[in-house]
């Protein structure tokens, strides 16, 4: 699996010295899917919120009690028809990216780097203590720590749920069994909305961590190479 640490050497004349280390953490397909997904997720959320603006409620139409008025400036599409065009176009990119990513992770074995398993359970609480309660930093042995694995595994599951709930909203008749599983079209629409907020919650935490972990960590999602990893 990825993440083996290699020494970086600098040669001057006959002298060679070690100046750091690097690990190849993110295979090309993972990086491509990450950025394609970042773009399509941005469009799906933005256009989804514009669609939501057309009926910003999960109750009855009569009488209509609005849940919140999402500002148009933070939405994509300009009007309901435009937002639907964006949503029904980018959903294919979003789904394709997800399938390519999941297929690659499965067949390459790269999922071992990210999949949260029972072995990671013990390591979650020490990481939580470290991040939120000034606890000591647990030893880092691999690219993702247990808490990261838990977060990434969860958000991949949320991504799958966003597609499933979305299909139930889009096709409540042809996929009536799917809508039925969610309590019918009306509830499927609410689940779809809630899954979006859960994903946005992850994105917020993710961005905070990216900022906290600095440049080398950010660059690794572009080049695959992480300089001076902590393990």
């Amino acid at each position: 699996m990825s993440g083996a640490v290699i020494e970086i050497t600098r040669t001057t004349g006959d002298e060679a010295e070690t100046v750091g280390s690097a690990a190849y953490e993110h295979p090309l397909l993972v990086r491509l899917c990450h950025w394609a997904n970042a773009i399509s997720l941005f469009v799906m959320v933005g256009s989804g919120l514009q669609i939501f603006r057309a009926f910003p409620s999960f109750g009855a139409k009569i009488p209509q009690k609005d849940l919140l008025h999402w500002p148009k400036a933070f939405a994509i599409g300009g009007w309901l028809g435009g937002a639907l065009q964006w949503h029904l176009t980018f959903m294919w990119i979003y789904i394709a990216t997800g399938l390519i990513y999941l297929g690659y992770e499965f067949f390459s074995g790269n999922y071992k780097q990210v999949l949260f398993t029972h072995r990671d359970i013990r390591g979650v609480w020490p990481m939580v203590k470290h991040y939120f309660f000034f606890g000591p930093k647990p030893e880092v042995r691999e690219p993702y720590n247990p808490l990261q694995k838990q977060a990434y595994t969860t958000v991949i599951g949320l991504g799958v749920l966003s597609v499933i709930t979305g299909l139930a909203v889009w096709k409540p008749v042809q996929l009536s069994w799917l809508a039925w599983l969610m309590g019918g079209f009306h509830w499927a629409r609410l689940w779809h909305f809630l899954v979006m907020w859960a994903i946005l919650g992850f994105v917020f935490g993710h961005l905070v961590m990216v900022i906290l972990h600095g440049w080398n960590n950010f660059v690794s999602m572009l080049t695959g190479w992480k300089k001076d990893p902590e393990y």
């Binding site: 750091g20 773009i39 190479w225």
Partner: protein
Amino acid sequence: MESEDSKPDAGKPPEVDAKSVAPDTPLPESAKPEDGASPTQPEPGPRRIVGIDERKLTRMSRRELLRVAPVLALGAFAVPGLQEFLLKKGLGFSDWASARLFRRGHLAPTFSDAEVTPFDKFPINGYDVDDPGVIFENWTLTVSGAVQKPGDYRLAQIQTLPRTRQNTRHVCVEGWDVIGRFGGARLSDFLAMIGADTSSRFITVGCADDYYESLDMATALHPQTLLCWEMYDKPLTREHGAPLRLNVPTKVGYKQAKYLTDLKVTNVLDKVGYWEDQGYSSFYGL
């Protein structure tokens, strides 16, 4: 750089340590040893550390960065002109997929009378006026196109067809939904009555308020697609489209035109529908 001691395999025999870059590590193509990327660096002592030259790593990183660049192709969606084209293609693809998903024998869910939304809570959704002032005594449905018996059909004639009543969900493109009780004749029965060529691709309808719509033939022949003259077991009220409207539980609300005046069987659509022609989905099957 961390000390060697902090590595998991520190202290292991040298032959194990030499594999600290495991041969099965999936390095990028550009990082394969034959590329000269990983010159083994002799060091004093038993330990042989596999390393990579600093400049080589920089070059490799740049190459890997360029390989991610194809994602920028999505930027085409930000280019005016191209954007409209691409979104139209995307929506068209969704419509194509929707038509493939449609199964003629698959029924929309039906509901018990207790689950039906009360009549006064069923929204009245007109694009223009709630009452286009149809004079019922003079009303006819004008049939044209690929049919054996074109002409004007009175409501009483249409009502000689078997009546179907169904409690089905009405889903608006805006996102709200209600369960209504609808009654009328199957459109497929009416198409048989007028001798329609059902190998044609579309049904188009015109309305008293100048609204217009179209249905694909598969949907028109669906057993739950009604020429509807009743809601809640009473004749249609004017606001709900009297005297005749479409009720299509397999389609979104805007397909379910009210105040019908014209019906045509055709292979060619010069217009799709009032909302569709402004950018909404042409098929929008649920």
